[in-house]
């Protein structure tokens, strides 16, 4: 590879300094700036959703409902779920890091449709504002799952408003997915064939397929809720001649693949981190790449495992159970390959690697407890309990958020042109890891004991475990605040970052930090595979 790296000077404009002023941000079509717009937005929604979570945990510190009323509690968990799933987790990694990095990783100047990319941010924000507005007007108490007929007939809250917000922001997901697919197909640098792509790109490609294929189902089902609620057309409500279980089929036909929308980008980040901080090519690159695609495909065929006690037939339950075990295989393959990559590596303990190792551990626990839920007879007892809550938080929080934070630290020098403070960031990684486990591990025990989810009050024998969980949530909250503060500090005062502080192999590291507006001075020509340290050892100064 022959990209000339220029050390940035005050005179060399980069994507941050090329244009200035608020309008240059609001009207930008630069994928990097749009990535930062998304970063600010998802961070905002993350802290809103986090405040809801903290209030819930405080309420649950005692068995009685003493801090908030049961109705308020129900609104808190509903809005926590809606905000976190649709306005934080789904856009978190793809729209920030994915947006910022995919064009750079494939040696392109931008995404295939830069204006569409900006449009997707506006659509997302509009949806977010509609959702927040309906929450401010009085909230919604249906849970993020909107189960019928409660959501269509019985709830007196702002269901249509919240659903409309999600409906609108869904279009942002679809546009992002289309944009990524077109970009990865058409804009790869000369010589960059599919199996030379970084695994980050493979995993985002798989995510994009789900974005495009699954999100329209969500749009349809939300519209149907609105139609039934407003016009009393019987679709899901038995009293109007509909079928409430039909809703669950349609909802989970989107929402189970959406779980993979949330975790595949996390896996994308982890593949990059493990390679960079072991200074090794990912063990079994091809298998990891295909694992992403098979997760995306099989992920469409397992939705019924959310409904094992919903009155579906025994045979359909067996089908969904078997396929749920099948989808666990590619996830297991990934975990084994990441772990094997460490073997005989040159492992550094920089903060991103701490997050990556934390991710592998927590994702393993999250994935393995999924094996419990896929076992039909076991699921009967633990479904709809805190076991499920703990399980998906191990995937979504222990997995996706750990990956997001790890990725933010890894690419922060590229994004900001500055280094983050290593000491305190290691402390924050440790705090997040410990706080997370203290919050959610007791919830596995609670669910095993039979504590149902979505309970504002609970029998007193569950209190000790709830208090542990609440204490953990407080620590976790502090762990999340620390990066927010030191990233702000670093943006202004951090040490200037070199173009490739980690001596990593990706194309994004062959351009200045921060990159120029069009990413590369000269379009790179790719001759070697991904993570090819041998081929690049001279350039990277490795012996």
């Amino acid at each position: 590879m022959s990209t000339v790296v220029k050390i940035p000077t005050a005179e060399t404009p980069n994507y941050l300094t090329e244009e200035r002023g608020i309008l240059s941000w609001l009207l930008t079509t630069d994928h990097k700036r749009i990535g930062l717009l998304y970063l600010a937005s998802v961070t905002f929604f993350f802290f809103i959703g986090g405040i809801f979570a903290l209030l819930m945990r405080l309420e649950l510190a005692t068995p009685e409902t003493d801090l908030v009323s049961p109705h308020t509690y129900n609104e808190l968990f509903s809005m926590h779920g809606i905000i976190m799933v649709w306005f934080f987790l789904i856009p978190s990694i793809p729209n920030t890091l994915g947006n910022f990095l995919i064009p750079m990783m494939i040696g392109a100047k931008d995404l295939a449709y830069p204006k569409l990319n900006l449009a997707s941010w506006y659509i997302y924000m509009f949806g977010g504002i509609v959702a927040l507005y309906s929450m401010a007007r009085g909230g919604v108490d249906t849970g993020w799952t909107f189960y019928t007929p409660f959501s269509t007939i019985y709830s007196n809250t702002y269901v249509v408003g919240a659903a409309l917000g999600i409906f609108i922001s869904g279009f942002a997901s679809i546009l992002t997915g289309l944009n990524f697919i077109a970009t990865i197909h058409c804009m790869r640098a000369p010589g960059l064939t599919w199996f030379k792509l970084p695994l980050f790109v493979w995993s985002h490609y798989a995510t994009s397929i789900i974005f495009v294929l699954a999100t329209p189902i969500l749009a349809v089902v939300l519209l149907m809720i609105a139609v039934e609620r407003i016009f009393q057309v019987g679709i899901f409500s038995a009293s109007l001649g509909g079928d409430p279980v039909l809703f669950q089929h349609m909802f989970w036909f989107y929402s189970h693949p959406a779980v993979y929308i949330m975790v595949l980008p996390g896996m994308a980040v982890i593949s990059e981190l493990v390679a960079a901080f072991s200074r090794k090519r990912i063990f079994g690159y091809t298998f990891v790449a295909y694992a992403s695609v098979s997760i995306a495909v099989i992920g469409f065929l397992v939705w019924g495992h959310h409904m094992f006690v919903a009155g579906t037939s025994v045979y359909s339950a067996m089908y969904f159970s078997l396929l749920s075990y099948a989808v666990a295989v590619p996830s297991a393959i990934k975990v084994f390959n990441w772990t094997a990559t460490l073997y005989k590596g040159s492992i550094s303990w920089d903060t991103p690697m701490l997050y990556a190792i934390g991710f592998i551990g927590l994702f393993t626990i999250g994935g393995m407890t999924g094996l419990f839920l896929a076992a039909l007879g076991v699921d009967v007892h633990v479904t709809d309990t805190y076991f499920v809550v703990a399980h998906f938080h191990y995937i979504m929080v222990g997995g996706t958020i750990m990956a997001f934070l790890g990725g933010m630290h890894y690419w922060w020098p590229k994004i900001s042109g500055r280094m983050y403070p290593e000491g305190i960031s290691k402390l924050s990684a440790l705090t997040v890891f410990l706080g997370f486990n203290l919050t959610f591990f007791p919830q596995f025990v609670l669910g095993y004991l039979g504590m149902p989810r979505r309970y504002a009050a609970y029998p007193p024998e569950f209190q000790t475990l709830h208090v542990l969980s609440t204490a953990g949530a407080t620590i976790l909250g502090a762990g999340y605040l620390m990066p927010l503060i030191y990233f702000f500090w670093s943006w202004h005062y951090g040490p200037i970052a070199p173009p490739n502080p980690w001596r990593a192999t990706g194309l994004e590291w062959r351009t200045p930090s921060p990159p120029p507006k069009h990413n590369f001075e000269v379009t790179p020509v790719v001759t070697q595979k991904a993570y090819d340290y041998d081929a690049m050892k001279e350039e990277l100064g490795l012996v």
Binding site: K280, V314, V335, G377, L449, R453, V543
Partner: protein
Amino acid sequence: MNSLQLLPQTASTVATEWNWLFWMLVAVCFLVASGIAIVLVYWAFRYHRKSENELPPQIEGNIKIEATWSIIPFVIFLGMFGWGAHLYVRIEKPPVNAREIYVVAKQWMWKLQYQTGQREINTLHVPIGEPIRLVMTSQDVIHSFFIPAFRVKQDVLPDRYTTLWFEATKPGKYHLFCAEYCGTKHSGMIGWVYAMEPQDFQRWLEEGGSEGSLASTGEKLFHQFGCANCHHFDASGRCPLLTGLYGTEVHLIGGKTVVADETYIREKILHPRGQPIEGYLESVMPTFAGQVSEEQLLALVSFIKAIGPGAAALPRSSSGTSNVQFGQQKGIAGPGATSISGSRPKDR
């Protein structure tokens, strides 16, 4: 602070197998997860970067290793699937001789009716050592009937019957939870299940008192709603004979057959023109949707069951009149409480 409990109560026939499967999964997952964790941490130390310019040997991957760690987990997963499915079938499939109790869920309470006429709210008394089958429906949203100590859970749906069965093994007081979020007081939709020695349960039934069996209530409703005007008990009416119907196959127009179970009977009362029956092309029956409550429907179902083929086993008078009477021995438990003097049920 309350005492910390770390093991759930185990008080049903399926709960023991559940415990075995659960702890097998814990053991397998603990072994694998700790193996991964140990290897990760060990290698992270063992291969910690020694110099800034270090270039480790590059290892491409190995198809044999990939195949090994793809196939072995899959085989283990198949084992988990098999055992999980086996337990599920056990949990889902009730024994034929189960005692039936009817459950109507509404925001935010559980209403339970015994065949012998007793009613309870948010409490359920059951004998140990006897299979209990709950036939459940909801008046409004979806609820879920959950007894952690028995490891059973079943969603309760509106406009449909779902069933759940268990056999308690240990006397005691156990939590009953609603496990499907159902609105404001979801966490208040809880109660207790009392599992009792059979003789204690019998005593409880007798002390509980009732206004006649559920089937007798159903019979009164049968006359009150005018059903008996057309559905005679001797096949002389212009509508299908209901005596001996329950559990038999009904031939529909178009060649299909359905089993006349609880769901079918409920459906026929509410939507009689839904599935036309062979020989009754022109349905003359009006719909009772909106006129009859879920509890009344269950009483009617109970009545139809009582005059079903199984009724042959029940004591009845010799004459074959169309007069069917129930509940002559008020408040007395057991099958004897349902005494029938009616037409002889048709054999299957």
